[in-house]
């Protein structure tokens, strides 16, 4: 490999093995990765904590665990504390006996991986660091504007870049850990001013506020990895990043990232860079995509339904992929409570799981809504619904969700928030 990147003497020494073979390979990986994109230098990671995408001890991922063990054995540890995606199982989530056994087999490396994570250095005790929404204040891994990050998890990266104004590339699992270990990352893409400019102008011309997950899906599938600048959404979300706006953008961004490969978006008059720079963020040759009610309906109608029996009665509903915010849990509780009252019913029609981080759940448990939700029969869990659905026995279940990310990766069927609310509160035929 020819090194074209300008390295400091310390970085060159690392590459040449001054801190052992594993660290030299970490360094070589980061250099080669950066050089693909013309990176000319490394820049320091300034965010306080890292975030890892790998939270699950999937037996197939043995080579990753072996690699991590080599790093641990050679003392190649992160220079910052870490948060991590959600855990793959929780006994509170409905699952039959055989399915539980299968989950234990599939995730048979979970125990040993949790031990590795502890050695790598988790931010919070117990399960409090395991969530895809680590940027929420309750969890405490909230980067500042301008921070350089070494994160993975597509929904967290797009949120940190877009809503918080931090700077992070769409790193793969393993690469993000390498950046946390080295303390620097190659300078390219979303770390640069030029890389944060918009390739697309999205003109929103719907007659009402679009479902966040559907809008994100439509944009993601159109722009793929490019940067969209969305006009017209501030009409519905306002011009301040309050909790309802950030919750909407969390779900919107996750859909752009999973249905496409978006790592950064700008919302006119709302997100930090769009507020400061306005249309200067838009590239001269930017393309335009107009979104109407009809466009969104067409996108939704084209989602494949891969249930064996498309008319099957749903057996489970997941809400919270990415993990729910506190406000979102409260809002959904009120929606279900009002809906059931109208129908003269007390419990939800379909077994339902709300997923959130344990710190958010703890806060929720202090609110009056917590008891109301429990009475309606809804389970609250810290699980990763995607990992739950990866169990082959769960895949055959007719599961519904309002998450476009969960739809993309599993057999779960997507419905809008309004449709889900109706399905959960009305009698199921």
């Amino acid at each position: 490999m020819e090194i074209t990147m300008k390295l400091t003497p310390e970085q060159e020494a690392l590459l040449n093995g001054s801190k052992g073979e594993a660290m030299a390979k970490v360094m070589r990986t980061l250099v080669e990765y950066g050089q693909i994109y013309g990176a000319t230098k490394m820049v320091p990671v300034t965010g306080e904590c890292g975030h890892l995408v790998l939270s699950f001890g999937l037996m197939f991922l043995g080579p990753v665990f072996d690699l991590y063990q080599q790093l641990i054995d050679e003392g190649c540890l992160p220079q910052q504390k870490l948060t991590c995606d959600p855990l793959p199982y929780d006994k509170n989530v409905p699952q039959n006996g055989i399915s539980k056994v299968v989950a234990k087999v599939i995730y048979s490396k979970q125990g040993s991986y949790n031990k590795q994570l502890k050695k790598l250095g988790m931010k919070n005790p117990g399960k409090d660091s395991y969530t895809c929404a680590s940027y929420m204040t309750e969890v405490g891994n909230t980067p500042k504007e301008g921070d350089v990050l070494s994160w993975a998890e597509s929904s967290a990266v797009v949120y940190a870049n877009s809503v918080l104004g931090a700077r992070c590339n769409r790193n793969s699992g393993i690469i993000e850990l390498f950046g946390s270990i080295a303390g620097f990352v190659p300078y390219f893409g979303f770390l640069t001013d030029e890389g944060r400019k918009a390739d697309w102008v999205i003109e929103l011309k719907t007659t009402k506020m679009p479902d966040a997950q559907l809008l994100g899906s439509a944009i993601g599938m159109k722009v793929m990895e490019e940067v969209p600048y969305v006009k017209g959404l501030d009409k519905y979300l306002g011009t301040e990043l309050d909790e309802s706006a950030t919750t909407y953008l969390k779900d919107f961004g996750a859909a752009t990232a999973s249905n496409g490969a978006v790592g950064l978006y700008h919302i006119e008059n709302l997100t930090p860079e769009a507020k400061k720079q306005g249309e200067k963020l838009i590239k001269k040759d930017a393309k335009t995509y107009v979104i109407t009610d009809e466009v969104l309906q067409e996108v939704k109608d084209n989602y494949p339904v891969i249930w064996k029996d498309p008319t099957a009665k749903p057996e489970l509903c997941f809400l919270g992929c990415p993990h729910m915010s506190l406000q979102q849990m409260k809002d959904w509780t009120h929606i279900l409570e009002d809906g059931l009252k109208k129908e003269g019913r007390k419990k939800v029609s379909i077994p339902t799981v709300f997923t959130a981080s344990t710190p958010v759940i703890e806060e929720f448990n202090k609110t009056p809504e917590s008891k109301t939700l429990k009475k309606m029969g809804v389970v609250v869990s810290y699980i990763c619904p995607l990992m739950y659905m990866d169990n082959p026995l769960c895949q055959t279940k007719p599961v519904i969700t309002s998450s476009n990310k969960l739809r993309t990766y599993t057999t779960a069927r997507f419905y809008s928030n309004d449709e889900i609310a109706e399905m959960l509160t009305k009698e199921v035929d």
């Binding site: 390979k25 070589r28 990986t29 080669e32 990765y33 693909i36 994109y37 995408v53 790998l54 999937l58 037996m59 197939f60 991922l61 043995g62 080579p63 990753v64 690699l67 599939i106 993975a152 998890e153 597509s154 990266v157 590339n169 769409r170 790193n171 793969s172 699992g173 393993i174 690469i175 993000e176 893409g189 793929m224 990895e225 990232a257 999973s258 249905n259 496409g260 490969a261 989602y303 494949p304 891969i306 990866d390 082959p392 993309t408 990766y409 057999t411």
Partner: protein, 153 residues
């Protein structure tokens, strides 16, 4: 620019991880979602695409094939999954990108090269839209170390 000679058309790309390889093409015209496509490989005898949103590849064998694609999309586990596939011999024989390689696939390529040199998986990008318009499932692909790619049918 592509060159054609007796049923073989040659495209020039950039070798991300240089190597030589001959394999049968499988083609995805849309973004290849690595997690959605390959998440079941641990329980499959041969890695097959299980991504319901990819009509080009759904249920087709990927292992040992020349995977032709614009780029990868979706979860940031992508590079990690590619690395594991390579380490366990469950990977496509090579990856051929029409566009510039995305950061997740790039990670998979580099991780495999640095940490699994015993199992080379050549990767070429920037082959151009014409490449993806031309190549069809079943074409025989030959990759050369300089990033040139022959497509024979």
């Amino acid at each position: 620019m592509a060159k054609k000679n007796k049923g073989v058309k040659t495209f020039q790309g950039r070798a991300i991880t240089p190597g030589e390889c001959t394999a049968e093409a499988v083609v995805s015209h849309g973004g290849f979602n690595t997690l959605a496509s390959m998440q079941m490989m641990s329980i499959q005898t041969k890695t097959k695409c299980v991504d319901q949103n990819n009509p080009d590849l759904y249920k087709k064998v990927l292992q040992g094939k020349a995977l032709c694609l614009p780029q990868t999309i979706g979860s940031t586990t992508g590079g990690m999954f590619l690395y594991c596939a390579v380490k366990q011999g469950k990977n496509p024989a090579c990856l051929l990108f029409s566009k510039e390689i995305d950061s997740l696939a790039a990670a998979g390529a580099v991780l495999s090269e640095v940490w699994a040199p015993e199992s080379p998986m050549p990767v070429v990008d920037k082959l151009g839209d014409e490449f993806l318009d031309y190549v069809k499932d079943g074409d025989v692909i030959t990759i050369h170390p300089d990033g040139s790619v022959d497509v024979a049918r």
